[in-house]
């Protein structure tokens, strides 16, 4: 059924579109925003010096995480997470294929949205970075010692992990709420039975405080809305989570119009301490739900995948006082909690104000039962009873808010393409900074924590157009760094980004650097096929499989001459890098392999699979420039016809 939109909605949409066209089509005068005076020196980090902050930007449709320095905007690394990366063999080599295993099989790509730093006492602690996969619902944990994805957990009963992976103040949980509601449990039903059959789920993933290992503690079955973003409470609101929702109309088609009918959607407040009590009381029901946990073991240098078969599900019907709905104008995106933990800021994409909710008023409203009925049995709190204030005429399309820790909030406005600074408590607009163009999220290092480092705000813009030298139809996304140390914002610089960053996290560099890992200790290498001395290098035939136990050091392989491989064999090169010095990786490639290269860090073992198809002699070489004689780091594998009797031999230097 096509619902006819009201004339008012059509009119409002037209006005918004017209304004958007004006802002996108006609850049404002650049003079107003170009950093003047000493802007260049503020972002200049002299050669050999370090940036003050790490910034972790999501890769969006690249599926990865990029690591930048601030204030310079220099790109240090792209960490492969949800997408394969032939550059270092992620998802190609035998050790990491398992990281991308799901109940739908191996998935080589996803859409990574929201990085979230692990926290201790409400401030980022520099141990781990979590990030969600929006398409095939998963959460990854990146270790900030190795800068590697070390764990990926699949989220069952979800149609897209979008409101994810936000963490509690001591990383007790990371959460995931589904963007798409789906038949839960999944079933072959008519799409237009949405209101009857589709449900949402909020997942609480428990994080082991020592190792960081994740597992699904419980899920909460919630109404079939779209769940967008979230933040955990802190200070007085610790114990609660806040989730923005849209499509409370429960439309299943043309959401652009049909999910924009209600003047207010909701921010859902979840009392997770209460949920824990219900779990203890045995209120959760076991649900058959399959999901994978894939962990990379830094000693075995291998993924260990485990398939789980059950989750514990809480139904709000059995759990009073666990969920409440705060009406929020209109199709909110951000649900952002200020450093004190008292204010919850809703970013209503289509709203004309920025509503700010009060946690203490919410508690009073709950106690006084200031309800406006319920949705699916969940009490709806009266808007006025929970509202702290509204920022009037902030701009168009408010999306997401971060805080500077000095009493100010900064909200991105997509439609009017600006960052708006406003004051907590008085709700007055203090300053505006145009962005180029159409900002999505913004990030202040620590800006969603108890103690922000309120020096810079990073604007992550969705539209690039003419900001850089053109590169054809497909353009980079542009980030802009803004100085917020003074009363007025100052534009400092633009820099290009990887994929499409949706959100970012920033942290003082020292907090990350103290976890630094430079090499893997070869004495702790427990890889099944590790070769810890050239003396142990060998080639072993097991039927049609040939296992090459191989070492690399500057600048030779052992063995580097191999004969006796036959067409029809499956060859596994298990390469151990014997180096124990920082920044001495070795690479490995062999001609004609339908596979990626290996890039092996010092002390590590990695395996590439090769199925040679025709007889001949195949060169192999080190792909990572390792020494003055790197170009000499090469060898040959002789491949004979199937059924031939070439003896299996191997050597180096003979």
């Amino acid at each position: 059924m096509f619902q006819k939109p009201s004339a008012r909605i059509v009119y409002a949409s037209l006005v918004v579109l017209a304004l958007a066209a004006v802002w996108i089509g006609c850049p404002a005068k650049k003079e107003a925003t170009i950093g003047s005076g000493d802007a260049a020196s503020k972002v200049f980090v002299p050669p050999g010096s370090y940036d003050e902050f790490y910034a972790f930007l999501s890769g969006g449709f690249s599926g990865q995480v990029s690591v930048y320095g601030l204030p310079s905007g220099r790109l240090f690394k792209t960490i492969p997470v949800f997408a394969v990366n032939p550059e270092n063999g992620w998802g190609f080599n035998e050790e990491t294929k398992g990281m991308l295993q799901t109940t739908d099989g191996f998935i080589p790509w996803d859409d990574s949205h929201h990085p979230e730093l692990s926290m201790t006492d409400g401030t980022p602690d520099g141990r781990w970075l979590f990030i969600n996969a929006n398409n095939s619902p998963r959460i990854a944990r990146i270790d900030l010692g190795t800068f590697r994805t070390e764990e990926i957990i699949e989220i069952p009963n979800s149609g897209g992990s979008h409101a994810s992976p936000f963490t509690t103040i001591n990383t007790e949980y990371v959460v995931s709420a589904t963007r798409f509601s789906v038949p839960t449990p999944q079933a072959d039903v008519a799409i237009n039975s949405y209101k009857q059959n589709f449900k949402g789920a909020i997942s609480f993933v428990k994080v082991d405080p020592k190792e960081g290992h994740m597992d699904l503690a419980f899920q909460i079955l919630v109404p079939g809305f779209d769940y967008d973003l979230s933040h955990a409470g802190k200070g007085p609101s610790h114990g609660w989570f806040f989730f923005s929702t849209y499509n409370t109309e429960q439309a299943h088609t043309l959401l652009e119009v049909n999910a924009s009918q209600n003047d207010k959607d909701f921010i859902m407040a979840v009392n997770w301490k209460k949920a824990e009590e219900y779990i203890k009381q045995g209120k959760a029901k076991p649900w058959a739900s399959e999901y994978y946990i894939n962990r990379y073991d830094d000693n075995k240098h291998t993924t260990i995948s485990e398939k789980k078969k059950q989750v514990m599900m809480l139904d709000p019907k059995d759990c009073p006082d666990m969920l409440y709905l705060m009406p929020c104008p209109k199709s909110p995106h951000g649900a952002d909690v200020d450093p004190s933990g008292e204010y919850i800021v809703g970013g209503g994409k289509l709203a004309t104000v920025i509503p700010v909710f009060s946690f203490s008023k919410m508690i009073k409203a709950i106690e006084g039962k200031a309800f406006d009925g319920d949705r699916d049995g969940i009490p709806v709190l009266k808007y006025d009873a929970v509202l702290a204030g509204e920022v009037q005429e902030p701009g168009l399309g408010p999306l997401h808010t971060e805080f500077d820790g000095k009493g100010y909030a900064y909200t991105s406005h997509f439609v009017s393409s600006e960052v708006v600074k406003w004051k907590l408590g008085t709700w007055e607009v203090i300053d505006r900074m145009p962005t180029y163009y159409s900002i999505g999220h913004l990030m202040i290092p620590g800006g969603d924590s108890k103690q922000p480092w309120g020096k810079y705000v990073l604007a992550m813009n969705k539209i690039t157009k003419d900001r850089y030298l053109p590169t054809g139809p497909e353009l980079t996304q542009s980030a802009q760094l803004i100085d917020i140390s003074g009363d007025k914002m100052r534009m400092l610089s633009d820099f290009p980004t990887i994929g499409e960053p949706h959100y970012a996290q920033g942290i003082a560099a020292d907090l990350v650097r103290k976890h630094e890992v430079k090499i893997f200790d070869i004495n702790k290498n427990e890889h099944k096929y590790a070769t810890k001395s050239e003396k142990d290098a060998k080639v072993v035939r097991e039927g049609k499989e040939v296992h090459v136990y191989m070492t690399a050091s500057r600048s030779h392989f052992v063995p580097d001459n191999i004969e006796g491989v036959k067409v029809g064999d499956v060859v596994y090169f298990h390469m151990t890098n014997l180096e124990q010095d920082w920044d001495v990786p070795h690479g490995f490639a062999i001609k004609g392999n339908n596979n990626a290269e290996l890039l092996i860090m010092p002390g590590e073992t990695a395996t590439v699979r090769w199925e040679p198809k025709t007889p001949g002699v195949y060169p192999m070489y080190c792909t990572d420039f390792c020494s003055a004689l790197h170009q000499e780091m090469q060898g040959y594998v002789r491949v004979s016809a199937a059924g031939s009797n070439t003896a299996l031999t191997f050597s180096t230097g003979k």
């Binding site: 070869i522 030779h556 014997l578 124990q580 010095d581 003055a628």
Partner: protein
């Protein structure tokens, strides 16, 4: 094996004529032909008497060496095979020099400092600079612990005394 060594030697020679010309000159200036040119400064200037003999690095005092400890030799052999064997043999030159007789030429403290601080030694100790100029491959830092290093020294002591590899 012979051709492997020969190939390395040829490469070493090639590189010394091309890429590393300037460092060769530096090397000459710092330690070459000192006897014929008395005007040249002492290449060991700046080093303490201890450092000159015993190398530069974390080992800063003379060791009190006792009779060879065979348990430590075994431990040292294992560490040697993982962390050193890719470049060093006892009896033959490979990427680096043979180590059978190293303790006849160098003090044990010098050998340990070379293992623990190869970059610093190659940069600052004239004898290590000279060796680098010969081999042209800088010795890799294998991030040995002090215990591992001491065990490897014991293995080398044993090898030196026995003039053949123990097994």
């Amino acid at each position: 094996m012979k051709s492997y060594v020969l190939a390395l030697a040829i490469f070493a020679a090639t590189i010394s004529m091309t890429a590393c010309g300037s460092s060769n000159e530096e090397a000459k200036a710092s330690w070459g032909e000192a006897a014929n040119k008395p005007a040249k400064p002492d290449p060991y200037a700046g080093l303490t008497a201890f450092e000159k003999e015993h190398g530069i690095g974390p080992v800063k005092e003379e060791l009190k060496l006792e009779a060879i400890n065979t348990t430590l030799v075994k431990k040292g052999e294992k560490a040697f095979e993982t962390k050193c064997y890719a470049c060093h043999r006892l009896d033959t030159k490979l990427v680096g020099p043979p180590l059978q007789d190293v303790l006849k030429i160098r003090k044990p403290e010098y050998v340990m400092n070379m293992m623990l601080n190869p970059e610093g030694m190659i940069k600052n100790h004239p004898d290590a600079k000279k060796l680098f100029a010969q081999f042209l491959i800088p010795m890799a830092n294998q991030n040995l612990t002090m215990d591992e290093c001491r065990a490897i020294l014991e293995y080398l002591r044993h090898a030196n005394e026995n003039a053949k590899k123990p097994s």
